[in-house]
């Protein structure tokens, strides 16, 4: 047990020390790159205050955009990939294996390279349906949902495979439809993996930068990733480092919040209980 603690503590130290550096830069009143050290001389919350009251950077707006997009997209993609995982895990149909391989293969194409095409598609969409075009959260959401299947589906399918099939067979015998089995039997049992994937999807969307950078040009529509990159791009890098560090810390808050919220589901071993029953 001591060994376990020692090992985990070492890894924790590795995990935390760059974050301490950011923390130190954020409360360092000098706020420039050259003056950063792990233990700052003197501390103030000036960087946070400057950030939140800044006229140049609508930080609150970025924050809201990011959280909204991340919550909406992780919820929707969770549902879509859970549907697909249920079909792949529980049903046998023509093209099942091919479908799963295709999912994996499509994910391997360097998505970044399709960015020119995506740009052209959404130029068209912006003209036809401005509500789903550039500078809108909805357009970006649609784009993110394109990747909703893929890795998450595999992760959930792997988990579903370990949930005993006898459970849904028993439900079928009792006259349940496939939809009832999905919502009433499967969904409650897969909460741990739902929690994990929800968290992964949330984090992934929060720090997604490339697509958002193409998509969101208008300062009001930017997400944290796009906005913050602008803060230290080019000449601003040294001057804004303190504010940037403060922004980095604030960005992490919702993610940690989601994690704390989902922690109990991640921890609980519901499936083990189901087998015993």
């Amino acid at each position: 047990m001591t060994l376990r603690h020692a090992f985990v503590l070492v890894v924790c130290a590795f995990a935390v020390f760059p974050i301490l550096f950011v923390l130190s830069a954020a409360i360092n009143p000098m706020g420039t790159l050259a003056s950063t050290e792990l233990l700052p001389t003197g501390a103030s919350l000036n960087n946070f205050a400057n950030l939140l009251t800044s006229d140049t950077y609508p930080f609150g707006r970025w924050f809201f955009n990011s959280v909204f997009i991340a919550l909406a997209s992780s919820f929707a993609s969770l549902l879509l990939s859970m549907f697909a995982a249920y079909a792949f895990s529980r049903m046998r149909f023509a093209g099942r294996r091919v479908g799963m391989m295709a999912l994996l293969l499509i994910q391997m194409f360097p998505q970044f390279l399709a960015i020119v095409t995506i740009f052209m598609i959404f130029t068209e969409v912006t003209e036809l349906y401005p509500a789903f075009g550039f500078n809108t959260a909805w357009g970006l959401l649609l784009l993110y949902l394109g990747g909703a299947l893929g890795v998450n589906t595999w992760l959930m399918k792997g988990f579903l495979d370990t949930v005993p099939k006898e459970l849904d067979e028993a439900a079928t015998v009792d006259g349940a439809t496939h939809a009832q089995i999905f919502w009433r039997v499967i969904m409650p049992l897969v909460t741990p993996i739902l929690a994990v994937t929800a968290l992964l999807a949330f984090i992934g969307t929060m720090s997604e930068f490339l697509m958002a950078n193409v998509f969101l040009r208008d300062p009001e529509s930017k997400t944290l990733a796009v906005g913050m990159y602008g803060m230290i791009a080019g000449d601003h890098r040294n001057a804004n480092f303190g504010m940037f560090a403060a922004a980095t810390l604030i960005t992490a808050v919702p993610t940690v919040g989601v994690f704390l919220w989902l922690q109990k589901y991640i921890v609980s071993g519901l499936t083990a209980g189901a087998v015993k029953g």
């Binding site: 697909a84 046998r92 792997g158 960005t251 921890v267």
Partner: protein, 522 residues
């Protein structure tokens, strides 16, 4: 009850279940139809307005198929797969396929449009004022959304309206003392700052006349000029300036006898040229092997390092008597919770030789990102730092799915904890995680951000600024394709096909090796 239910056997063979129509059934069908109808109502009018009949047909076809799918009781797997697949096809598969088709073209700077656009650009770009041609006083106005010219002939004081269609006389305009038009019926005359803001549009507008075009020269004068270069359809060539440039359909350029071409070209199909260029161009293929080698190491070490570290802590915490797991989990997840792109930039600063944190802590003066060896070590360290919490989370999730009974049974049978892990836990974990490991490999193989935001491919040797010590194929090729030479989308797409092929082959091999496992456990 149980009589009309088929045997509880393979799920795929289920016949049509005989069941009564429930309220839930009716309500869910109505909801599906209502959503489909709402989407149609929203999406159709703009398509009709712009006459996009192909898109309209596609939309109606897909909607009809979906409605049919959800109204029958058959195709049950499809009911679950379609929602995600629609998005996948529209925003993932289609862009990829489209990108692949551009690999066979010369799409890029100088080759963006079709031939007609190139001819127009060449002709209007070469307009020179003909000697003795009239010079007009120009006012810029808008007619609705359209930008138009109001031209006053200084000699006759006649006001004309110039549009892209031609020149028409205009009556009722009020001309000021400077000779510029102040107001005209049905038109909004732009003030100087407004006009200046639309400078590009103004420069682009060419008003065709009998034997030339009228173009703006600044914001208040317009001159009639003639195109020095004129396209002649008879010989499919451009003449003028004492030369002839013949259209070369294989290059998408107008080329003259000396082999020189005009700057403006058009998009043509170049077949396998882009692919051949990757293989035969010495600057590109020369470094390919070296970059590929490091790229493989980077992806493998990233994945295995993250997995080993992540699984290690997940296993350490996965013990009923472990205390403080809540706090540990939060600390371990922190690197993943921080915005990745920001932390990459922070790490770059921590590696800085003069005022970086790492050198300060070590009391050293190591130029971390300035030497190939330490730079590679650095980016790997950063990437593992960023990636291991993901593996930790995923393994934690997968560990929950393994019934404790299995490991308990193993220990009752006398297996040591290590043996129980090796023979029971790890194989079960790998069933769930192999696909993730493989896709994580693919992700890291193309991890553009990890390199671009830390070292940007560097350090670069003095003799070759093209390829740096930490360059991955994707950063290296992006520099070639989008770098100083201008955008070459077709060429970039061809390179991505190569990258895709390499990743796909490696993944397929990895999959074959683990496939048997899945058959056993799934």
């Amino acid at each position: 009850m149980a009589l009309d239910v088929r045997e509880a056997a393979p799920a795929g063979t289920r016949g049509r279940p005989r069941r009564e129509i429930t309220t839930a059934f009716v309500v869910s069908r109505i909801v599906v139809l209502a959503v489909a109808a709402a989407i149609l109502l929203y999406a159709v009018p703009p398509l009709v307005a712009t006459g996009s009949w192909v898109a309209l047909g596609l939309l109606c076809g897909v909607s009809a198929a979906i409605a049919y799918l959800y109204l029958t009781r058959r195709f049950i797997p499809a009911k679950y797969l379609i929602p995600g697949t629609v998005f996948l096809v529209a925003f993932q598969v289609f862009p990829v396929v489209y990108t692949l088709t551009t690999a066979f073209t010369n799409f890029g700077d100088g080759h963006r449009g079709d031939k007609a656009a190139a001819v127009t650009a060449i002709e209007t770009g070469s307009v020179r004022q003909a000697p003795g041609s009239p010079e007009y006083t120009l006012s810029v106005a808008t007619r609705g959304e359209e930008l138009v010219f109001l031209l006053v002939d200084p000699a006759t004081k006649q006001v004309s309206l110039g549009t892209a269609d031609g020149l028409t006389p205009l009556d009722g305009a009020r001309v000021g003392v400077t000779g510029k038009v102040l107001a005209a019926p049905g038109l909004t005359v732009l003030k100087a700052p407004e006009a200046a803001a639309r400078g590009q549009e103004i420069t682009a507008l060419a008003v065709p006349t009998g034997d030339g075009v009228i173009k703006a020269n600044g914001l208040s004068r317009a001159v009639e000029g003639k195109a020095a270069l004129v396209y002649d359809a008879a010989c499919d060539c451009v003449r003028g300036n004492g030369g002839t440039w013949t259209a070369d359909e294989s290059q998408g350029y107008f080329v003259n006898a000396r082999g020189e071409h005009l700057a403006q070209g058009w998009q043509v199909n170049v077949g396998l040229d882009n692919f051949a260029r990757v293989l035969t161009n010495p600057t590109i293929s020369g470094y390919f092997a070296g970059v590929l080698g490091w790229n493989l190491v980077f992806a493998l070490v990233s994945v295995l390092g993250c997995f080993a570290l992540g699984m290690g802590v997940a296993l350490a915490l996965h013990h009923p008597r472990m205390r403080g797991t809540r706090v540990y989990r939060i600390l371990l997840i922190l690197p993943y919770a921080m915005p990745a792109f920001a932390m990459l930039l922070v790490w770059r600063d921590m590696f800085n030789r003069d005022f970086g944190l790492i050198n300060q802590l070590l009391g050293a003066e190591i130029d971390w990102l300035g030497q190939t060896g330490t730079a590679r070590l650095g980016v790997l360290l950063v990437n593992i730092w960023l990636g291991f919490p993901y593996m930790f989370l995923v393994t934690t999730g997968a560990l929950q799915a393994i019934p404790r009974e299995l490991t308990e049974a193993a220990s009752i049978d006398g297996a040591t904890p290590f043996r129980a892990f090796r023979r029971v836990t790890l194989p079960l974990l790998l069933v769930a995680l192999t696909p993730l490991l493989i896709s994580s490999f693919a992700y890291n193989f193309n991890n553009y951000n990890a390199i671009a935001l830390t070292t940007d491919g560097g350090p670069f040797p003095a003799d070759s600024p093209q390829v740096g010590g930490t360059d991955l194929l994707i950063t290296y090729t992006f520099r070639l394709a989008f770098g100083a030479g201008g955008a070459q989308f077709g060429f970039a797409a061809a390179i991505s096909v190569f990258i895709f092929a390499i990743v796909a082959v490696i993944s397929a091999v990895a999959f074959r090796r683990t496939r048997k496992q899945e058959e056993v456990y799934a």
